[in-house]
Symmetry: C2
C-alpha cells in the first residue's frame, strides 16, 4: 500500500490493473443498489406501523380534525410542534406532508406578495439572489432555481456556512435569503456552531426582507447519546432585533413515514400571519387527521426521543460500516479522499481528488450501485471542483451496504489513479 500521489507512472499503471480486476469481480456480482436518495429502510418504516392504528380525530381543544378549518394547524398539534421547534404555538404553523412544499410556498409568498420589510414583491425586482451553502440539499436549490433566482455558492465548514463570505454577500440588496440545515446538515452532517447562528441572526443585510430558510429536518436524528444541537435562530434573531428574519421548518417524514408525515414552520407572528393570508389563496386546509395521528402516536410510544432511538439503532451501524470501510480502503493511499463522520442525520460527504467525483459515480453505476448524481449538492447541479459525492447509507441492508461501500472505495481509487495518470 503506497501513497498514490508519490507513485511513478509504471506504478500507477500496475495499481490500475489490480483495481480493474477487483472492479470486474464486483461487476460480476450483479449488484442492484440505489443509494441515491435519503430514504428510510423498510425496517425503519416498521417502527411506525402503529401509526396506522391511530383513530383519534378530536383534538384536546375539541376541534374535529375531520372537517375543514384551522388552516394554521390543529391547536393541539400547533402546541406540540411549537415545543419541538422552540417557539410559541401562535408562532407555529402545522401543515401538510412536505416541508419542502411549505418552503416552496414561502418562497412563492416572497415572490408574489412580499415579506414585511420588503419594498416590493420579489417578482417586481430585477434580480434576486439566494445563498446556497454547498454542498447542500439539491431540492432546496431547485426551489429557488425554478423561480429564476441567481444561486450563489457559500462554502460549508464544520461550523456551518463560511460566515465571512455570507456577511460579505448580504451587503448586496438582491440577496434575499439563505438555505440552512443547521443540525446534521445534508449532506455533510455538520452542526452549526453557536457563533454561526449568532452571526446569521445579528448580521446587517442590505435587504430588509432577507429570510433564513432554516430546515431543521434532522434535529432529532442522533446516533449516539451525544445529542448535537444548535442555538434557536428565532430567539437569537429576536435578541438582535431581526425577529422576522428566520423561517424554521421541521418534518416527520424521516421520523415516521417518508412523504406521509406532517410538517411545521415556526416564525414571528407577523410571518405566520402573512403565511396564513397567502396560503388561504392556495388551499382550504391541511390534513389535520394526520397531524393529530402523529402527535398522539409519539405520545403513545413514549415520546419522540424514544422513537428516534429505535431509528438510531438501525442507522448508526450503517454509518459505522461505511466509515469503517472508507478508512480500511482509503486511508493508505495518500490524500486521495476525505469524508465527514457525522453523529446524526441521514448523509455523509465523500470528497475525492478534484475532477474525480463524476467518474466515481459513473464507475459505481456501471457496477450496479446508483449514487446521488455527482454535482447534485451544488447549485444548478454543478460542483465546480467535481470532487463531492453524497452518501446516503440508510436504505440498503447492512450486508449490501458494506459491498456498496467497498465498491465505492475501489471506484474512488480507480478514478484517482486515472486522474493521476493524466497528469503523470
Amino acid at each position: 500500500m503506497a501513497d498514490y500521489l508519490s507513485m511513478t507512472k509504471p506504478q500507477l499503471l500496475e495499481e490500475q490493473a489490480g483495481l480493474q480486476q477487483q472492479y470486474d469481480a464486483f461487476a460480476q456480482k450483479g449488484l442492484k443498489l440505489d443509494m441515491s436518495r435519503g430514504k428510510p429502510s423498510p425496517e425503519q418504516l416498521d417502527f411506525s406501523l402503529g401509526l396506522l392504528e391511530m383513530t383519534d380525530h378530536i383534538d384536546d381543544t375539541g376541534v374535529d380534525a375531520r372537517n375543514y378549518g384551522e388552516l394554521e394547524g390543529l391547536p393541539e398539534t400547533r402546541r406540540y410542534f411549537a415545543s419541538l421547534l422552540g417557539a410559541k404555538p401562535e408562532e407555529t404553523f402545522v401543515a401538510g406532508n412536505s416541508s419542502l412544499n411549505f418552503m416552496y410556498n414561502m418562497v412563492d409568498l416572497g415572490w408574489r406578495k412580499g415579506f414585511v420589510q420588503g419594498e416590493k414583491p420579489w417578482k417586481d425586482q430585477e434580480r434576486i439572489k439566494f445563498l446556497c451553502p454547498s454542498p447542500g440539499y439539491d431540492r432546496h436549490f431547485r426551489v429557488t432555481e425554478v423561480f429564476g433566482f441567481e444561486l450563489l455558492i457559500v462554502p460549508m465548514t464544520p461550523d456551518g456556512p463560511d460566515m465571512d463570505i455570507v456577511e460579505d454577500l448580504v451587503q448586496d440588496e438582491a440577496v434575499k435569503g439563505i438555505w440552512c440545515i443547521p443540525v446534521y446538515s445534508n449532506p455533510d452532517g455538520y452542526v452549526y456552531s453557536d457563533e454561526t447562528v449568532r452571526r446569521l441572526a445579528k448580521m446587517d443585510t442590505a435587504a430588509g426582507d432577507f429570510r433564513i430558510f432554516w430546515d431543521n429536518a434532522y434535529f432529532a436524528h442522533h446516533f449516539t447519546k451525544d445529542h448535537k444541537t444548535c442555538l434557536n435562530i428565532l430567539d437569537e434573531s429576536r435578541k438582535a432585533g431581526h425577529e422576522d428574519r428566520p423561517l424554521m421548518f421541521c418534518s416527520t417524514s424521516k421520523m415516521t413515514f417518508a412523504g406521509a408525515g406532517a410538517c411545521a414552520m415556526a416564525a414571528s407572528v407577523a410571518n405566520i400571519k402573512l403565511a396564513s393570508d397567502f396560503l388561504f389563496s392556495t388551499t382550504i386546509c391541511y390534513d389535520k387527521i394526520n397531524q393529530l395521528r402523529h402527535v398522539r402516536y409519539f405520545a403513545r410510544e413514549g415520546g419522540l426521543e424514544a422513537h428516534m432511538q429505535r431509528h438510531a439503532a438501525v442507522i448508526a451501524p450503517k454509518f459505522k460500516t461505511v466509515i469503517k470501510t472508507l478508512h480500511a480502503e482509503l486511508d493508505h493511499h495518500g490524500k486521495i479522499a476525505r469524508w465527514t463522520e457525522p453523529v446524526g442525520g441521514y448523509f455523509l460527504s465523500l470528497f475525492t481528488l478534484d475532477g474525480c467525483a463524476r467518474r466515481v459515480v459513473e464507475l459505481c453505476k456501471q457496477a450496479g450501485v446508483v449514487l446521488t448524481g455527482a454535482g447534485a449538492a451544488y447549485p444548478y447541479g454543478k460542483d465546480p471542483s467535481d470532487n463531492h459525492i453524497r452518501i446516503a447509507p440508510t436504505y440498503p441492508p447492512l450486508d449490501e451496504l458494506e459491498l456498496a461501500a467497498q465498491l465505492l472505495c475501489i471506484c474512488t481509487r480507480m478514478a484517482s489513479v486515472e486522474k493521476l495518470l493524466e497528469i503523470a
Copy 2:
C-alpha cells in the same frame, strides 16, 4: 298574502311592521348557526370512521406507500381515480388532500413554466384574463385573483356557462382559461348540458394554451336515483383535436373527511408530464398512504356509490327542508325571489330582488345565522346585481336548518319591502 310588487306604500309599511315582529321573535331565540361554508355534518363524517382503521400500505403493484417516490400517485390509486374521472391511469395524477391546491399548482405552472401550445409563460405576458361563470366558487376565483389575472364574469344558465358569451370572449388571446364545476355546480347545482360540453371542447380559442379547469367535485353527490352526469370533457376535447385543453379534477374531501382526503387530476399525457416536471420542484411526493387508505376503504364499504348513498340520505332531507320552506314563505309575495332546486351537490342559490342580497345576509347575521357573504360567488366578491345568496344546507342539524331557512325567508321579505319602499 299579497304581491309585494303591487302594494301601496301604506301596505308595505304595515307589512314591514309585521315582519319586524317576526324577526324580533327570531332574534330572541339566540340562534348561532354557521351556514357560510359547504361543510359536511358530523353525522356525515361518521360514515367514514372506518377509514381510520385502514392499515394498508402496500399497493397491488408492490409499491410501499410508506416511503418516498411515485410523485404522480400510487399506481393502484391512479388506476382507481382514472376510473372515476373517465381517463387512463397514465392520464391521471393522484395528489394530496386539496384539489384546490392542485388547481393553484396548475395555474402556477401556466404562470411560471407555461403550457404546451403556449408561446411563453403567463408571467411574461402583459395581461391574462380568466373566465368565471358566475355565480361560481369563490375559492376558484381567488386563485386567479392572487395571480393578478383579470376575472371576467360569464353568466350561468341551467345548462352551464352562457356559451355564446364564452365563444365570444375566447377570441381574445389574453383569455387563458375558464373555471367550471360541470356537475351540481357550486352554488347553483346546475349540470352542464351535452351541448355546453361539446361547445367548450370544440370552440376556437385565440390562445393556444387556453385551459379548462374542470372541477368535478360533486360528480358522485346525487340525492336521488336520478343521477345527473355530463359528457367527458377530455374525450370531447380529444375528438375536437384539443386534447391538451381540459384539466379534470376531483376530490374525496366531501366523500370522507373534509380536508383529509385525496385529490386527482386527469388530463392529456402531455399535461401530466408537464405537471410532474413542475411539481417535482415544489414537493417530494404526496401522501400515498392516505391515497391507498381511501381506495381500499371504498372497496371495503361496497364501493363509492354505496358510500355516497349514505351521504344522500342525510343531505337530501336538508335540501328538501330548505326548498319547502322557501316555497312556503316566498311563493305568495310576488316575484321577490327565485332559487335553484338541485338534485345533487352541496349548495343552492337564492336570488333576491336586485340590491337586496347584502341586506338579507346582514339581517340574518344580526339574528344569529351566518351565510356566505353576499357577492362571494362573483369575481372579486362583487355581485353586480347584489341579488345572489349561496345556501349551504349540509352542516346544521335538520331542526336548526328549518329555523334558519325560516329566518332567511323573513329577512328576504324584509329586505324586499325596504327596497320597494325606497322606490315607492
